[in-house]
Subunit: 113 residues, 2 copies
DNA sequence: AAATGGTATGCCTATATAGGCATGCGTCAA
DNA sequence: TTGACGCATGCCTATATAGGCATACCATTT
């Protein structure tokens, strides 16, 4: 099997560097495809494809504006990722030494069971 | 081209659901491969492979303990992900309405340039 | 209606997995 | 030393991209 489909999974969608860059650019406001492609140095089809993935996972919304299509950020989907990683915060805050001690302790406890 | 290699990129490493589950389990302390595989309902080779990826991106450390090899969490690599998503916090905190207004505004400004 | 600008898609290729299995290896116990 | 146990790997397959190109689509402007 290959990796899970990027669509339907925000974690996979943001695994692509260029897609992350697109999201960053969109923080400044809506933009048409061509402009995004230009700023990121990618072809228009490339940009459209990445935007499609982002749209399918809900990180981006599109709106027709005359002849162009403006893409806008909808970052709500990033919240779960932020919260998931946040669940590990105490682990990177503790010094590695204390972390080791902590782990050792748990290991002991578990082994004794 | 295929997606970038999972190794050398934390974002890709945690794009895999099972790898995320492994990390969660490791919050409780070090564990041998077999135990992880058992709790997650995957085969031992599968677990070893996922652990290898996690080790290569630095999210996990391994330590030989007699006949077994204990894997432990090293969440420091998750911090960048947490911070990156954190950069979008104000966007999911604002009501969608205000977000729209904000974006509209920026768009106007940009168009006028 | 015809021409043009702005996008979305289809098609083809190379590549990187994720799984399933069998098996090689190193370590500890008898 | 011989087994048994715990893991790591190698090999093979099916699948999902990411890129590059050409092109079909749609709305707007002459």
């Amino acid at each position: 099997m290959a990796r899970a489909a990027t669509t339907s999974d925000v974690f996979n969608a943001i695994a692509e560097p260029q897609r992350r860059e697109i999201l960053v650019l969109l923080r400044a406001g809506e933009r048409p495809v061509t402009e995004l492609a230009g700023e990121l140095g990618m072809t228009q089809p490339q940009a459209s494809k990445h935007l499609r993935v982002l749209r399918e996972v809900g990180l981006v919304r599109d709106r027709k504006a005359g002849r162009q299509r403006l893409y806008g950020l909808d970052a709500r989907g990033l919240r779960p990722v932020h919260e998931w990683t946040g669940g590990f915060e105490r682990f990177w805050n503790e010094s590695l030494g204390r972390l080791d001690a902590y782990v050792q302790d748990l290991k002991q406890t578990r082994r004794e069971t």
